[in-house]
Amino acid sequence: MASDLFDVSIDFETSHLFFPTLVHWILGGLLALILITKVAPFLAAVKRGERALPIVSESRDNLRFFATLALIPAYFALMAIVGDLFPYTGYGFLFVSMAFVLCMSLLYLHDWTKKALVIVVVNAVVAPSLAWFVLAKLFTITLP
């Protein structure tokens, strides 16, 4: 009978794996299809030199990109460390954000003129202070 074909019983103990297993099969199937229909022709085109691989062989502002990738984790990590020194004050957020905003602004600033630098420094001090004051003090939101 056709209905037997569709019958299914799910064991409660392993029911947390039922849907994920199905999703894995679907993902695997789709991946195979994509590899055949999209990736293989693409790689062939790369081999013939018509297309470039994404990320690997693209032109990129290496300094700004990798410095950003390093700055953000450093910011997160230091915030927690400094925050633990002054618990429940939000100082971790305040001080580390100042340093972070300053570094990132300088990183992204192209022409280091005196005027631009002054704006960057003022912004790095004022903006985190303002955010800290409004959020931590006025709204009593938990900050690191």
């Binding site: 022709p41 018509e50 990320i55 700004r64 709204f139």
Partner: protein, 520 residues
């Protein structure tokens, strides 16, 4: 009108504030309404439900509208949905009619926004009433429909589906929650991750990471160039604006607004689809479309009324089915949850007052947007000049606050930002689609519960076809969206082939094969 009594001055101020901030975000190229909502989230934590809604809806409406400013003045769409605004807006600005163009946009926007709000008001309760009767089977099929619609509107359907399923997979990380009738076991992770990931990734840090941090990474890669280097923004006051510009545009306005509303209702479809569709319809149907693309007000009207009509449209599936209509409403769903609102079929019947307050905020935001943009456009236009080296660090900072405070101080949520920021960057780099992934992530865990519970109670897969006539209708819609995607795929491939054969008539060069695989 009882609900009005619970509103106070701060409600109105917050709508205004939200709209203004939204406009500013929308006006800065590269910043979107989604990011405006994501960045301002921490402010809503401390606000009550009504005031939180006021701020969020203001940000949403303002963010979508703000995109017109750089579109007209700089030829850069501030948000993806204002792409078609550049076609006619920029030529007008170059003729010195920038102010006139912006004012036309503002009026078209407010009308689009209000029409879609009216449709939302009338239609969402009906849809909710209807969907209240849905069992798990139909609910699962609705999610399936949502995902297939998004996927079918992606560049490549296959990639769209794949991205959506990855989103679902990500949402399954964590425990199969006992409160959903699961067995409380964790899956898809190693034991050492359990303290962090027992409940899976939190929705908002994931969204903020994907929309906020990955945008920064994509920009950093390009070297954070000033795209308006040295160029002074001239607004141009010549060509005085008068309402007579709108004479004979009633059909265009109404049609574009309804197109925008309808496209907004489709899950996961961004604003660009709405405005492009409205623009092409005006081009096809207008008596005289010869000036379109050279600075014709009718193009602006079509584009801007459609993209603002998205706002009401996208809220329809969100409020009546719990399915977000676009990326911004995806963030809104998280913000609503935070305020204790469970969006879905029961939301409107059970929270009448909140529903009316939402509508008030939405309509009000449209009016505030109109007033601000119409009279203060000259000053607002200056924000397109805010340098990115000032802006980006502040965005990262606000993303951190948003993620950290969401579960009252969990550092892992901040790391989630980074994980999904990098993931979002990679996804966009290798050509996967963000929108289906996000929608998959939001709906994935519900899909699991509906699917598994349906099978547990009925014991057969065939229930998904035989449960009710509605199930069959939903299957028909799913099939229709798949067929639509296939048809569109063939059409665009045929067009590409035709264009290529015209370009390379002498010999079929290797370049001919190039385009076929560009979707990947």
């Amino acid at each position: 009108m009882e609900f009005l009594s619970v509103l106070d001055v701060s409600f109105f101020l917050l709508v205004g504030f939200g709209t203004l901030v939204g406009i500013i975000f929308g006006a800065i190229p590269g910043m979107t309404a989604t990011m405006a909502v994501a960045v301002c989230l921490p402010l809503t934590y401390a606000l009550g439900l009504n005031n939180g809604l006021a701020l969020l809806l203001g940000l949403y409406v303002g963010g979508i509208s703000g995109g017109m400013v750089p579109a007209v003045l700089l030829n850069i769409p501030g948000t993806p949905s204002s792409i078609t605004t550049t076609f006619d807006g920029y030529p007008m600005a170059r003729r010195g009619e920038g102010e006139k163009a912006l004012r036309i946009c503002v009026i078209a926007s407010v009308i689009g926004g209000l029409i879609s709000a009216a449709v939302l008001f009338l239609f969402a309760p009906l849809l909710a009433d209807f969907s209240i009767k849905f069992s798990y089977v139909e609910k699962f099929l609705i999610i399936l429909l949502a995902l297939s619609v998004i996927a079918s509107l992606s560049n490549s359907m296959l990639i769209g589906i794949f991205s959506g399923v990855i989103g679902i997979w990500l949402s399954l990380i964590g425990d199969y929650s006992i409160s959903d009738g699961g067995n409380g076991h964790t899956r898809l992770m190693f034991d050492f991750m359990e303290p962090y990931l027992f409940e899976g990734f939190s929705l908002l840090p994931v969204l903020i990471g994907i929309f906020g941090i990955s945008t920064i990474l994509l920009e950093a890669e390009k070297g954070v160039k000033r795209d308006v280097a040295g160029e002074r923004v001239k607004i141009g006051a010549s060509g005085r604006f008068s309402l007579s510009t709108f004479k004979g545009s009633l059909t265009n306005l109404t049609r574009s607004s309804f197109i925008g509303t309808f496209v907004g209702m489709l899950p996961g479809v961004g604003g660009s689809a709405a405005s492009v569709l409205a623009y092409t319809q005006e081009k096809n149907l207008a008596k005289d479309s010869s000036q379109m693309g050279k600075g014709a007000p009718q193009g602006l009207i079509a584009s801007e009324s459609a993209n603002n009509a998205l706002t009401g449209g996208a809220l329809i599936p969100l409020l009546s089915l719990g399915i977000p209509g676009d990326a911004t409403t995806a963030v809104l769903i998280g913000a609503f949850t935070l305020q204790g609102i469970q969006v879905g079929p029961l939301f409107i019947p059970e929270n009448h007052e909140t529903w009316y307050i939402m509508m008030t905020a939405l309509v009000l935001a449209n009016f505030v947007m109109f007033v601000l943009m119409f009279f203060a456009i000259k000053h607002i236009a200056k924000v397109v000049m805010v340098p990115k080296h000032i802006l980006y660090p502040l965005i990262v900072m606000m993303c951190v606050v948003g993620a950290y405070a969401i579960n009252y101080g969990i550092m892992f949520d901040v790391w989630t930002l980074l994980i999904f920021g990098v993931l979002g960057y990679l996804i966009q780099k290798i050509g996967l689609e963000v929108a289906p992934l996000i929608i998959g992530f939001i709906l994935g865990s519900q899909a699991e519960v509906y699917f598994v519970k349906s099978l547990e109670s009925f014991g057969t897969y065939s229930i998904f076809f035989t449960k009710s006539p509605i199930a069959l209708v939903l299957w028909a819609l799913i099939a229709a969206s798949v067929l639509f995607a296939i048809a569109m795929g063939f059409k665009s491939r045929a067009r590409q082939k035709m264009e290529l054969s015209q370009m390379h008539t002498p010999s079929n060069t290797t370049a001919g094969k190039r385009h076929d695989s560009t979707n990947g």
